[in-house]
Subunit: 231 residues, 2 copies
Amino acid sequence: MPLKIDNYHFSRFSVLEGLPEDESRLLKEKMIRKEIKKGQLIYRQGSFPRGVYFLRKGKVKIYQTNSEGKEQIIYIYTRGESFGYRPILSAEPHPVSAKALEDSVLSFVPAQSFIRLLNRSSVLPNILLRALSREFSVWANHISVFAQKSVRERLALALLILNEKYKRKDKGHLPPVINLSRDDLANYVGTAKETLVRMLQNFKEKKIIRTEGRRIIVLDPAELENISDLF
Amino acid sequence: MPLKIDNYHFSRFSVLEGLPEDESRLLKEKMIRKEIKKGQLIYRQGSFPRGVYFLRKGKVKIYQTNSEGKEQIIYIYTRGESFGYRPILSAEPHPVSAKALEDSVLSFVPAQSFIRLLNRSSVLPNILLRALSREFSVWANHISVFAQKSVRERLALALLILNEKYKRKDKGHLPPVINLSRDDLANYVGTAKETLVRMLQNFKEKKIIRTEGRRIIVLDPAELENISDLF
DNA sequence: GGAATGCATTGACATTTGTCAATTTTTATG
DNA sequence: CATAAAAATTGACAAATGTCAATGCATTCC
């Protein structure tokens, strides 16, 4: 059975990989390293894009804030992924905000340099086309999930996805520890914090997860798959 | 005020426009005209892409069917739009099915021809990159809407979008007539048919819409904007 | 290490939405 | 144009989810 969860995230897509040596070097020359603190804003919804970000370390959420100030997390990026390039390609303002979920390290490439490379490179356009097309599957699946699944099912799916994202490179044998505030988790699942807490409580009673303070450890991913009822 | 609804659809993107004369001709040479009946399946979720479709006339829905057979409509294409090309670019099976909502006319270009042109053309990759990046905004907005808005708000938004899509080219002065089955409308809004009908009833009482059989005519789009509370 | 402070949890309740079972209306067909 | 079939509507009710208020627990900052 193919891991169905893979249809719900981008599995570590990076613009960097797949570039020929010389183009990769060109890109790296333009890179600026940025260290950012947990909670720091990277860009704001509605602002114009300044460049592309490569996430070296940490986690970054992209989200929208509605008129009542409620947040919806659209995606959580982890080490190795790139973001912020889409509105450069379409010459639009950012449709989402980006903020660090933990202390993180980014490599930043100014939009100009990125565009220059794009126009010169014979492979970059294809890499991006493939990535963006692949993304569509993920977004379509997300829309179906939000439109049709109950909070309980969505939470089960979210925990499975986060369980992947919180896997640690070197400590692959240890179970992932999901470390998100209840507010962030609620905004990721698309529900009220209180409802979320109650569902988590229920999962704890059923021994599907266990918690250490606010941290969550998944004990029974198979059961989460059952509950989420992916298609 | 910019029409906020434009952030919820692609405003008639066609691959055809923007191509230089010679490339456009190349594409047109490969085109096969297809007439299809209302309700006819164009491709099925999970199948491999055979080509690109240009919608000449009519309406086409793309949708996912979940394990219980419930449908979620992801997008409705209208005259002038192209679809089916994304999974060609990412070499994946179709993540959605496509079906005609009315009798329609399509131009079909086989995947091979499309790829050949893509590799040869200097503008097509950029056109597609721009389109796919722009799409991201639309998908992100949709996800927020489904995750956070009530059925009533989503219905108001859906009616506004459909009101645009059902505008008639030649009869621009006449109000659009939305002609969708209640099932399709419910699957577009992401709710049960019965709930949908009740909300429509409520909008009728408030003189926001009027109906002729199953057809819907929007009387007060401004009020729909208020209700939908876009951000 | 002990307050503050912010975050997480719980309870009570209101509201929204879904489901099942009729019934009515519309559409398609001979 | 009559009739069968499909689609739309309504009612009654159950289940899911959100909201508000109160309380408990964990971090962090002296």
